[in-house]
Amino acid sequence: MIDIAGILMENISYVLLITLGGMLISFSVHFVPVGGAPAAMAQATGIGTGTVQLAAGAGLTGLITAGTVMQVSDSLPLIIAAGAVGAMIMMSVTMIVGTWVYVYGVGVPPASAKVKYDPITKDRQDLYVSQGTEGHGLPTVSYVSGVIGGLLGGGGGALVYYALMSAGLDTGIAMANLVGLASVFAVGIFFVNAVIPSYNIGGTIEGFHDPKFKKWPKAVFSSLIATFMCALVAVLTIGGL
């Protein structure tokens, strides 16, 4: 039987880092403008897919960039920055291509139905919202919000991956096995923390200007508890090898 208390005491800082990373991911989902099936038909503002798919797409790209940088450096700020930039690029590309499709394909102007004026550009919104829809496309504020979401989510994912890798480095486990294990745990924790906020916002949100954004403390608190449990389990597995 493994020495549970000993491993936990040794790695408690990593457990806390993973928990912090999970909370960042949970918070980040509230920034991502996601509209689900209605947005896919240009009947709601945001990107036309589910929260989880979008957060996972951006987060996994962040994991790849963070993992790549981790091969050449062990500086935590650099790894977090790499993860954040990877996820931000992924989010930006998804949103700009989505905007092209909405504007040139569907033929709708990007407009928000939740606010009268775009908080960033101060452009009038309500005049451009088609009747019977909840807005469409990605107005500037949603775009900026999505990039912030990528920053936080990618940074959080990189933090989780860094902590898991660091917990296993001293155990003498083969590098290929450690990378596999840390990635799988990071992905598992990412999915759990992408789904919890998605339930909190009911599947759709426009960005930080959306009234639903104010509900974020509930999701972050839930993620704190859920990630802490997952972090204990993950660190026990990796540290106990």
Partner: protein
Amino acid sequence: MSAGGPGGEAHGGVAPGKMIAFGVLGGLIGIYAAHFLSIINPAFSFIGALGAICAIVWGADAVRRVCSYGLGTGVPSIGMIALGMGVIASLFGLAVGGIAGPIVALIAASIIGLVIGLLANKVLGMNIPIMEKSMVEIGGAGALAIVGLSTTMAGTFMFDEVLALVVAPGYIAVIFIAGGMGILHPFNACLGPDEEQDRTLAVAFEKGGIAMIIAGIVSMVVSTTAAIPTIMIGAFIWYISFAKFYELTKRDAYKVLGTGLLPTEEELQ
């Protein structure tokens, strides 16, 4: 009712208790039988995938019951959280549990599921009466599906082999998506006012068959003796369940009509 309004309780079909027994017992028996019989002959490793199919069908039924209430977000999210919880719990279970690994994995997944279910209802205020119970079931089903498919791929559920043969080469990602598809896709494909349990679960069996074929292809790395029966039986299960699904779809449809082929360009002139 993925993005629609609140639904209600799912009705009809086999009782939840029977599905739980089918998933837990079938899953565990399959995994242990595959583990011990593989020592005698690697060809028996396909039984692990049969256990995983039991777990997948159970998970799909739990998704069906909880998603009938309407989550406000898409059905796929619950399949992804199932596998997220499942992959964490199953690797933990196999690492610390030794021979009791699959049972430890099932228990760990159930505890994580219970906590997430409680958080969803009490903190996030989803107010779905069966949320806690369903999250326990979905997490457990996810864990058993992962352990079952890993056992088929590696021929054992001992952690060192699973780590070297399934996790390190990245096949665990294939299990993640194939198992997740099996749990989330059936209800996502069949939901609606005319949803029937047997038709939904026929899709679950069909997805399980696909996951089994994939596990068989991967197990080719370990031994061809193990791969061939797994692929053959997986293909057989896929064919039987797909035929069953098609039959049930025709039963539930108002009318099935052939539209013929698309008209050619000349005919349209």
